[in-house]
Amino acid sequence: MSKSRRDFIKISALGFGGLVLANPILNAMIGQVQASEPLDASQLKRVPTYCEVCFWKCAGWVHQDEKGELWKIEGNEDDPHCKGRFCPRGTGGLGMYNDEDRLKSPLMRVEVDGKQTFKEVSWDKAFRFIADKMNQISEEHGPESMALFKHGSGGAHFGKLFKAFGSRNITAPSYAQCRGPREVGFHATFGANINSPEPVDLENTKCLVLIGNHIGENMHNSHVQEMSKAIDKGLKIITVDPRLSTAASKSKHWLPIKPATDIALLLAWMHVLITEKLYDKAYIERYAYGFEDLEAHVADKTPEWAEEITTIKADVIRETAREMAFNAPATLIHPGRHVTWYGDDTQRLRAMAMLNALLGSWGRKGGFYFPETAKVPSFPHPAFPSVSWTWKDYLDGKYALAGSSIANVFVDASHPDNTTDKKIKGWFVVGTNLISTIPDTKRTLEAIDNLDLFVVVDTMPMEITGYADIILPECTYLERYDDIRVSPNREPNIAVRMPAAEPKYLTKPSDWIVRKLADKLKLSSYFNYKSYSEVLDWQLKQMGHSLSEMQEKGVIKFERKHENLYLEEGEEYEFGTPTGMIELYSTDLEMEGFDPLPNYTPHPEPPAGFFRLNYGRAPMHTFGRTANNPNLNELMSENKLWVNPKIAREAGLVNDQEVWLENQDGIKSEFPIKLRVTERIGMDNVYMVHGFGKSNKKLQRSNGRGISDSQLVTKVMVDPIMGGTGMRGNFVKFIIDKPEREEIS
């Protein structure tokens, strides 16, 4: 409060005295400014947390003001995820806590005068209702018929409850709707998953290749930071994107590719590297399997061949391939994250992995490092019961290479057209808005209609909450303990989250919800503690630390115990593939009956008058979760449709004009979207940021602002290898006059 004290003295000097008068008008008259001023940080309390606004989970400090109210969040200097700097979403995380539209009380669907509505109920009543239904489903179909869809820290607690209850049908849309093909493609090549955060050695990269990856617009914190450091050191960026993304604007080479033709470009690059002998010969000789097959496979995939397909000039393809080779092995073909695009995504990611292999960047400085994860012991609990079936049994051998559960398969297993005896009858959806994450909403809603129990746990009203039988209001990450954060990195590390404030309204932390529900289900023996802090303290003490120590530090880093960060020169190394080598020729894929070497296949083109619908992210939002956050909504309150000026002129459209969109299946957007007429996008596609156009009217700031791309994604191209849902084969046209609303059936 140094500033107002100084004013105070100044006013005394004027002779009015330092009177603090009760009357605010008189105070104003003598110059006592009431307005809030910056605080003296040294006197304030800070609480460690890790961020829950996105999956990066940066560790930071929540600062309280002198009244104990939350003031600001800052990054933890010791945290490798954020290096002391939070991204805009993390910095704006307080908005999640302050959002007055939050879910405030448990809600139950009831029928009043023939109309369904939500009624506030007590937690106890909610738990009794849920427990009764779960037991009923268990008796009729078996406990396996309960399924959990989850995202984020809250979901982990519910995972334990489900295992205790007797179901392993647990899934997250972050796999089959996002990064799944990448895990399979890279695993097939290097025998290792990518995971999160991706073990890319960006800060040492000299040449970065981005295939539709808009880093900088996706705010993957440490990666953005490292890319920026690399730019200072002269990083060359090659960006393949039909739109001038932010990263493209910072690139030496921007390749505005014709959408859906990336594999042709990747094959041509491999052709150049091999025919011009630019690949890492020693590395390939020592570590790779199937080089000759690849050489033969790409022999006819010339840059001229690729130019025909991709519209990228052959000499640009050659020049960029040489640039990559020149900087190798510090050349990184970034695996990206959301890669479910066209249904042949595993093959595209395979091609990217192979390109990395040819450049020798896996396990090399400036390419991919070998990450290490800290080991945290589990809190003791009785063994979980065995289960009679899981989603894998339902699939009966299909998508065998999927390394994780496939959320859309859970929808299939819940759908009335499931004729097997492995049926899902009850859902818990924790922290994920399935309506905008899983494409083909119609099918999702049909599955929901077929359920005996549908519980949604969230902090905010979302589209999905509107379909629930019962809604449980979770408190935000700022109001609770959660599991210790362990994630792979250069240095193994842990971070803790502690509550910085009491839960607002009637909201509760997930661990409390799970424990109370477990009581009702007579499963409390699995949750043998009174507060989650006990669990954390026990775990930390096993590791030689304690919760009170973590309260001071927030993050602890450990020495690496295992392999080096990079491959040693000439090191013998066994990869996790069937051959123990980097598989340029994939034996896994061959065994499952898929192309062992990637092939380009043409994808449908937009019909006349239609444009391919591309979508992406904005740095100030996480999917649809943050659209209503008061701080972040202020930065970006709606999405706009990027349209090339020539297209706009031909269609008679102007900047900022509102249009509706209709897709190839006749589905119209629920709301209008404003145009952003810009040269940053080409003629064959339009673009919008995902996560807007909220239909839930309870979201005061975000309801009806912009549109939801998910509504328009009705054509889904499923990846035959791992079941991922390709979502970039949808085409839209403009509707200028407000369309008649059809009921969404």
Binding site: M29, M636, V677, T678
Partner: protein, 313 residues
């Protein structure tokens, strides 16, 4: 295609998307300041020229309006302040470089001056008046005794006030439309013209009316000359000022300015006055009202358009 967009932030009320921190209060304040300056100027001028008898409206009657006009003007300025209770901070310091400070002080000076002037003619209005307060009677006598000095002070301060209403705007480098030295003289002439129109309107004397009609014609001529030069200056200046001038040359303010201010507020009243001088019967209120409205609209437009005009970078 060049495109400049705000990615985030900057949705501050009255700042975005276009500046509008000054609403109706400031233009009204500027208009009333100019009007008061005009009336006081002519009163002092003809008092010094010894025309008190021939021009009673100019020297005496019209000045009774001035304190009221100034009070209303100051009221408008007060309403513009967002931190109203701090207004007294204006009078804790004199800031030579700040036109706003100048204005506050010149009004502080000219308001009591105009009141004293009125006091000295108070018995014209009510011949058998007796003052309840000795001080007021002292003022009356004092002004009558030192009328010449008073008139000189008033003439100088009214010119400063009249120019000030333009300089308040032209001192802002940041607003290309305002940033021209013609604005001071232009606002002074416009203020004199509205003052002359008011005197003409109030006057019952034929001689006085025709004199102020002629003065007004001359002032309108000068005003039109200044306006033409204003735009010539803009067009010969930098991109930002050319852009600013475009607001009036095809842009949003074209019709209100050329139609409302120049045609209705200057040209038509001039024609009406010429016709009246040539003996046609024109109700004197008509040109006067047109000039007054024109002067008011002029300030509204300049304040409004000036806030929109800005440098691009």
């Amino acid at each position: 295609m060049n495109e400049e967009i705000l990615i985030s932030g900057r949705m501050n009320p009255h700042i975005d998307p276009t500046l509008g921190i000054w609403g109706w209060e400031i233009p009204l304040y500027l208009f009333l300041g100019g009007l008061a300056a005009g009336i006081l100027f002519f009163a002092a001028l003809y008092s010094l020229l010894g025309k008190e008898k021939e021009l009673p409206t100019a020297v005496r009657k019209a000045t009774f309006l001035v304190p009221i006009i100034l009070m209303v003007g100051l009221g408008a300025l007060f309403l513009d302040l967002k931190n109203k209770l701090y207004f007294w901070q204006l009078y804790t310091t004199i800031r030579i470089e700040s036109p706003m400070s100048w204005g506050a002080w010149i009004l502080m000076l000219i308001t009591p001056l105009s009141m004293a002037w009125c006091l000295s003619y108070w018995r014209d209005l009510i011949p058998n008046w007796t003052w309840q307060l000795k001080f007021l009677e002292w003022v009356e006598v004092f002004v009558q005794k030192y009328r010449k000095t008073f008139a000189w002070t008033m003439i100088i301060s009214s010119v400063i006030l009249g120019i000030y209403t333009g300089i308040l705007l032209s001192a802002f480098n940041a607003r290309p439309l305002w940033n021209t030295s013609i604005l001071g003289p232009l606002f002074l002439v416009s203020g004199l013209s509205t003052g002359a129109a008011t005197i003409m309107w109030l006057s019952k004397e034929k001689l006085e009316r025709s004199l102020f009609s002629k003065i007004d014609l001359l002032l309108i001529g000068i005003e039109v000359f200044f306006i033409i030069h204003l735009f010539m200056g803009f067009m010969a200046s930098n991109a930002a000022q050319i852009e600013a001038a475009q607001l009036f040359l095809g842009g949003a303010y074209t019709l209100p300015f050329w139609g409302g201010v120049v045609l209705l507020g200057l040209v038509i009243p001039a024609i009406l006055e010429v016709m009246e001088l040539r003996g046609k019967h024109i109700p004197v209120a008509l040109p006067a009202i047109l000039i007054l409205i024109g002067g008011l609209v002029f300030r509204f437009i300049i304040v409004d358009a000036g806030q929109i005009s800005q440098y691009f970078y």
